[in-house]
């Protein structure tokens, strides 16, 4: 497997008569979102693959240059709609660090709780759709049952199910109450009870294992070359998690592990994500235990934010990996430039090297297992 760049296969002219091209997507039942894959195939075997992106391009980065810092904030949850909370709060955190705004302790703990809930929600959705991709329909509905409970909890406190806009520069918009705490504890208890059922239904299933074991191995070289992060990287055995490497929102105060596997195949990615859900539950429990009293945002919210001129880079761990924000401020109230580094883009970029030589069914399984969100790739 080579990791060097190759020209788009649609530009290739010469090919023998045994091969053909297959357009998979953008309207295909298991292309998550609007990804289009141009596949060069021989029978069911994939010889080459060219991901074509841009169908959900909304120019988020350009939009940022035309509005004040605060008005770009709602955009962030629309970039990755599945970890909208993490993106929202990550953006807040970045701006706060840039403009040196203090965040009250209670707000930080709330941020950790809702971020981890969001992470579980995202992983649950991935769990269901991944199983759907390899043909198991029933686990999908079980996952959505559980996921619905998180959405209801978050809906109650933020007023929204997907694009929360819950953060404020210096805190969060609304305080959580006892009902929230009770519901969250109930959910974590439920997740613990559901785990054996999921294990029996999915992880102990011989067909599932056959479909995932040793399929779609992302090697260390490929991961290095394309900057693959998140659970996809941890499945190779690299213990890298922004929450541990460069802690934010007080993640350094929580006791949790970075689950890793070594094989880098679909099964490893599956196991890493399942283990991550357990770790997220642990974090939430600790956060609920240490939830201090106090304000949730500064007494006086900043009306006109003007960060000092300069450049700033800040990263958070989204459900999909290292989400980086690179800000350039000229001292005005409008960002000079915002560049977003999104984990799905790196994971998808690595796909041509991984998909080469697999079969159609594997392609779907591998694409499902790397957990990409298209709007985040196109931005």
């Amino acid at each position: 497997m080579s990791t060097q760049h190759h020209p788009p296969i649609c530009l290739e002219k010469a090919h023998d008569d045994e091969t053909y091209y297959l357009n998979m997507g953008p309207q295909h039942p298991s292309m998550h979102g609007v990804l289009r894959l141009l596949l060069k195939m021989r029978g069911e075997l994939i010889l080459d693959c060219d991901p074509i992106i841009g169908y959900a391009h909304r120019a988020h980065e350009k939009m940022a240059e035309n509005r004040p810092w605060i008005q770009f904030f709602p955009n962030t949850s629309r970039i990755d709609y599945l970890s909208g909370m993490i993106y929202n709060l990550g953006y807040c955190e970045a701006v706060e660090r840039m403009a040196s705004i203090e965040v009250p302790e209670r707000a930080q703990v709330i941020r950790v709780i809702v971020s981890e809930l969001n992470r579980i929600q995202s992983h649950l959705l991935w769990f269901g759709t991944f199983l759907l991709d390899i043909g198991g329909i029933t686990p999908f509905l079980y996952c959505f049952d559980d996921r619905e409970r998180i959405l209801a909890i978050l809906d109650r406190v933020t007023g929204s199910r997907l694009t929360y806009s819950y953060g404020r520069f210096g805190g969060v918009s609304r305080d959580i109450d006892d009902v929230f705490i009770e519901q969250t504890r109930g959910f974590i208890k439920r997740m613990g009870e559901q785990a054996p059922m999921y294990r029996k239904l999915v992880h102990d299933n011989i067909i599932f294992l056959k479909r995932c074991d040793g399929v779609g191995v992302i090697t260390k070289e490929i991961a290095d070359a394309y900057g693959v992060t998140g659970p996809n990287l941890r499945a190779i055995g690299v213990e890298y998690d922004v929450r541990k490497a460069e802690p934010y929102s007080g993640y350094e105060k929580y006791d949790f592990e970075i689950p890793t596997r070594t094989t880098g195949d679909c099964l490893a990615r599956f196991e890493v994500r399942v283990a991550e859900m357990e770790q997220s539950c642990r974090i939430i429990e600790q956060a609920l235990d240490r939830l201090p009293d106090g304000p949730i945002k500064p007494a006086k919210l900043i009306k006109k934010l003007k960060p000092p001129a300069g450049e700033y880079y800040f990263a958070v761990e989204s459900a999909r990996g290292h989400f980086g924000m690179y800000f350039v401020s000229d001292g005005g109230d409008v960002p000079s430039r915002i560049k977003l580094r999104t984990p799905s883009f790196s994971a998808l970029s690595a796909m041509p090297d991984v998909l080469e030589g697999t079969m159609v069914a594997d392609t779907i399984a591998i694409l499902g297992s790397i957990d990409i969100v298209l709007p985040e790739i196109d931005r």
């Binding site: 295909h28 298991s30 029978g43 390899i134 043909g135 067909i207 479909r211 069914a361 779907i364």
Partner: protein, 345 residues
């Protein structure tokens, strides 16, 4: 022995008309029921309610869906192979009707009673694959073609263990009681390929699932693959090939494929019932009731499997057939033959 329609009516033409009407009625009712049942079973497995709106517990939902399908525009894509494209749904559908007419539903009456019933059923059920390939080839769509290629490979492969496992039952029937049996006071020579004889032997001894558990398991697994049911539903794997061979079919053309698929499942379950579960044999209740109870139990198991397991990959499917099922079926057949030889001397 069951009386056939020709014996009852005397005139073969009247018998033919009545037979076709009867088979079509049974098949249509079965499809109406099966689609509703499938949706309900999947709903129960997935902690949902399933269709509830049309009729009590959604029983009329399928009728509404059929009316919708009838009213839909028939889309015809460009660049198709016209004769193949238009004939394909019929080629899939017609053998189903023929195969159904061969099965003995009860002790007293059957539509037909042929000495080569089993052979004909395998022939007719094998015929559907021609229609599927016609659909895939004629649609001018790569997904349809991929689905059709998978279907051909899969059906031809799985026919081998299917027939081999059925053969062990045929051997046992032919060897039963020295090949002679007394029915209604007259002696008949037993023929293992005659479906009525297979049932009669089980009626007077015990069901073959006791003697032939391995053959029964192989037969059931191969039937799942033959009828393109999950986990072997690769020809129409929706997450990979959109809808496989019927991607380009809409309206009632798609309806016919659907009809054929559910009827094939029905036939598969009926043959399995006749071969291994004693057909109409059972205490207290009349024969046809027992027959359909067993058939729908098997169909329920098929649905249960479908909504529980993920899908196999194509190469794994072929390895499973040629590497596990076929050798097992051959060994089972040889052992059966050997034991029968020893027992019957």
């Amino acid at each position: 022995m069951p009386r056939t329609l020709v014996e009852i009516f005397g005139n073969p033409l009247i018998a033919l008309g009545v037979g076709i009407a009867a088979v079509m009625t049974v098949l249509s009712l079965n499809v109406l029921f099966c689609i509703w049942f499938e949706r309900k079973v999947s709903a129960w497995i997935q902690r949902r309610l399933g269709p509830m709106e049309v009729g009590p517990h959604g029983t009329m939902q399928t009728v509404a869906d059929m009316i919708k399908l009838l009213g839909k525009q028939l889309m015809t894509p460009k660049g198709i192979d016209k004769p193949l494209y238009h004939l394909a749904p019929l080629v899939v559908f017609a053998p189903v009707v023929a195969a159904t007419s061969l099965l003995p539903f009860s002790q007293s009456v059957a539509l037909s009673n042929l000495d080569i019933g089993l052979v004909l059923i395998f022939m007719f059920s094998g015929f559907a694959v021609v229609g599927i390939f016609m659909a895939g080839w004629g649609s001018n769509n790569k997904y349809a073609l991929l689905g059709a290629m998978r279907s051909v490979a899969q059906n031809i492969s799985y026919e081998v263990p299917l027939i081999l496992s059925a053969l062990s039952v045929v051997l046992m029937v032919s060897a039963y009681n020295g090949g002679v049996m007394e029915v209604d006071g007259q002696k008949i020579g037993l023929n293992g390929l005659n479906l009525s004889h297979i049932t009669l032997v089980q009626h007077s001894s015990i069901w073959f699932i006791i003697f032939q558990p391995i053959a029964a398991l192989i037969f059931f697994t191969a039937t799942l693959a033959e009828t393109n049911r999950a986990p072997f539903d690769l020809p129409e794997a929706e997450s990979e090939l959109i809808a496989g061979f019927h991607t380009e079919y809409s309206g009632m053309r798609f309806g016919l494929f659907f009809f054929g698929e559910f009827s094939n499942m029905f036939i598969g379950a009926m043959v399995a019932t006749v071969l291994f579960l004693g057909g109409w044999d059972g205490p207290f209740l009349p024969g046809p009731v027992w027959f359909f109870l067993k058939v729908y139990f098997l169909i329920f198991v098929m649905m249960w499997v479908r909504w529980t397991y993920p899908r196999l990959r194509f190469d794994q499917l072929m390895t499973f057939c040629w590497g596990i099922l076929t050798p097992l079926a051959i060994v089972n057949l040889l052992v059966t033959a050997l034991v029968l030889k020893v027992v019957s001397g």
